[in-house]
Symmetry: C2
Subunit: 463 residues, 2 copies
């Protein structure tokens, strides 16, 4: 491999797992559940962070989930529910006592309630919304009115706003008087009388300023207001690119409706990265805790598309049946052609998909990148042509066979480079996700062109 | 595809690109540079955020980079330098006037200076360190003493600390008196006389508390202190899992040495995700702005490993040369066997690598996941066995050929599932990165087993 160990991986297993849920703890909880020792279960999970408790729920099996929820009872932390993967959320909620759920949900920020509610089956959804106070329910329903994967769904309604004529002293007094401050809370949003945000002030800056100074003097006016309809991936990009921790969200009239904080953006970033990785691997939006039938069903269509393209490649070979019958070494060497083309294409494709996602590949440098990939394909094509030509010659003692392999390799790696860069760019141009199915397209191209070149040249030069 | 459009992609190109550097702007800058219109260049780039200016530098070619740096002159924002990709950083720094660089660097936080310095060639490194004040240079050199990709390299030294007996009033007075507060700044770290952190207080909480309250009463004691030697991927995991925005970093004696903020963690998360995607695609740590020769050279070894494994698969076929010569349809259908096995294996592998990275796949649920993947392989194997059996029968009018294909498909998808899950788990167990070269291992296994089954069965049943 080219950079085997620039990053020292693992070695220290203990440190590696420093933050993860311990294997021993999971085993301990499962044992305590089996023994019906509810007090023991509670003692084990009490010190866990909500996120780790959610991981615990995901990692144990269904029976244990029900037992764990029952054992924890009223001590259930609603945060843990909002950390659960969708695949187990519905199931877990069905185990929670309605009264416990109602009490727990009231402690959540509106964005977490929205997350809990949005994917629920109707029965659970009505029950959960029913547990909220009227005004809180209205807030959650307003968020739900925005499309899935939009800023409106990500935002929380809990925020601190102030008019520009307030002084730092007014602000501090107001905050001290507030019953409860939002958590997390990083910025005060300064709004005009029409509720339009006109500036933001990091909390630290307020603390470093003396009481008589008006907020208008210390607010930043070059903040970014995020439209509530903006897609979550764009929100995530803005947070990452501009190192934001918090940003006001506005409706179509530019009025402040909520705030998105960095933890929501980090979640959206994770989802984006996950989606790209999974799609490049030919997998949909699946989770390790999904059921067997769901996983099999979600992977089937991708394999079916692949079957169609594999049949296409086979049809190319079928055309050259006579050539193969007369010269079986060609059949023996076919996997090398397919494999090298497929891998080279995947390399280029992977880099292109990633660069499109990070917006490092744009219309500005597109043609330069295409040219560069073509040259890379040509260089490595030449290198492997020599290697593989020698292998073919030595293995079958036939110089012409080596020559055919060599020429095929150059053509195949060139085509792999072109397909690897042009397929994702084209998909992106037409508004499709470049990670989606690109791999199948690219390997179809390299298979077909590779086999055609190899068997065509072989038929012409070897028979 | 299974979920073609759960997320509405693109359609609105304008909004999609809302935050990215505009194509027109890049073209405008390049034109202005070509015309030697330095004032025009400065006017165009003045409104750009440092991160966008860095992207601009990455997207234009070498000559334009030199011109742009020269045109901007003393107005260069040092932040932009710290946003640059490593692949162009050295080059860009060579264009910057030493006096401009010295002035610019002084405005950076210590973590950004460390980033600039760590990958520099020695000549540039000495020049940059020389531009710093003595005490700042010492700080940067201390950070550089920690291993690459460690918390010590990620942390900034600028932080706000206080003793526990201070009141909120003392704290506010101290901050108002401070010449400059760190930016970003989210938490006050409470330290004991030995400089060990004993609590943290979000700035917002200080603002919501009255002056006479001692800090000890409002500090959180269950914060996470990060050892300076901890690996950056573990730091990123902790920030993401526990929704941290800031965390104190301690040396081996537990003394406070710095603070890591969420923007550093987000960068580490991005790098982790990028590394996984690229390694799964058989690519090293390359960037779209690397030079052709470097890209070709870094991809060559991965392709070379693949060549070796492809030759192994060919050797399996070679064993059955007589079978193929007698029944050429087997050669025609070989790509279907290889392709289906490879794709099914890649699906499982991708999910496993991702689940290992997010720590959803652990020793606690490992065997359950292996069993589940095996069942998925069996189910889809049966499904495709029927499909492909029919295809083989109809295409070559040979029921026995269809039967051979069907049995091969079941065996191949089972093996694909097992290899796809066991290879990454095994690599992870031995402390290797499960994304690294897993793909090659898995497809080697599916190719070899698939060809062996197909041609072996074919030889036994068809001749």
């Amino acid at each position: 491999m080219s950079e085997p160990s620039e990053r020292p991986e693992a070695e220290d297993e203990r440190e590696e797992e420093a933050y993860a849920l311990g294997v021993d703890l999971v085993a301990g909880v499962v044992d305590a559940l089996a023994e019906g020792d509810d007090a023991g279960v509670r003692a084990l999970v009490a010190p866990l962070h909500a996120a780790d408790f959610a991981d615990l729920l995901e990692q144990i099996d269904s029976d244990d989930r029900a037992g764990l929820i029952r054992a924890v009872g009223a001590e259930l932390d609603a945060e843990a529910l909002s950390e659960l993967d969708e695949s187990v959320l519905d199931e877990v909620l069905s185990y929670v006592d309605p009264a416990v759920l109602a009490a727990a949900v009231k402690e959540l920020n509106s964005d977490d309630v929205v997350y809990l509610v949005e994917d629920l089956e109707d029965e659970h959804k009505a029950r959960l919304l029913g547990a909220l106070d009227d005004d809180e329910r209205v807030i959650v329903e307003q968020s739900l009115a925005y499309p899935e994967y939009s800023a409106g769904r990500m935002m929380q309604r809990e925020l601190v706003k102030a008019p520009p004529f307030w002084t730092v002293g007014d602000m501090i007094d107001a905050m001290r008087a507030a019953e409860e401050l939002p958590d997390p809370f990083y910025e005060v949003i300064v709004v005009d009388p029409g509720m339009k945000p006109i500036g933001t002030i990091p909390v630290g800056r307020i603390m470093g300023t003396t009481r008589p100074v008006p907020l208008a003097e210390i607010m930043s006016e070059d903040f970014r207001a995020i439209p509530a309809t903006q897609k979550s991936e764009d929100v995530a990009y803005a947070f990452s690119q501009y190192h934001l921790v918090s940003a006001p969200v506005v409706d179509e009239d530019g009025r402040l409706v909520g705030v998105i904080t960095i933890d929501d953006a980090v979640e959206a970033m994770d989802e984006e990265a996950e989606e790209d990785i999974l799609r490049l691997g030919g997998v949909g939006d699946e989770s390790i805790s999904d059921r067997v039938r769901d996983i099999a069903r979600s992977r089937f269509p991708w394999l079916a598309v692949n079957l169609v393209t594999a049949v296409l490649a086979s049809m190319v070979i079928d055309v050259f049946e006579d050539v193969i019958a007369a010269y079986v070494a060609l059949a023996v060497l076919m996997p090398i052609v397919a494999s090298m083309g497929g891998n080279a294409g995947t390399q280029t494709l992977t880099v292109a998909v990633r660069a499109l996602a990070t917006r490092d590949l744009t219309a500005s440098n597109m043609w330069r990148v295409v040219l560069r990939e073509t040259l890379v394909g040509l260089m490595n094509g030449l290198g492997f042509a020599i290697l593989i030509g020698i292998i073919g010659y030595l293995w079958f003692s036939d110089a012409m066979l080596g020559f055919v392999l060599a020429i095929t390799m150059i053509g195949n790696l060139l085509v792999a480079a072109l397909a690897g860069i042009l397929v994702p760019i084209t998909l992106d141009r037409f508004g499709a996700d470049p990670a989606l199915a690109s791999g199948t397209f690219v390997t179809t191209v390299t298979d077909i062109v590779g086999f055609f070149l190899f068997l065509g040249l072989g038929g012409a030069l070897l028979l």
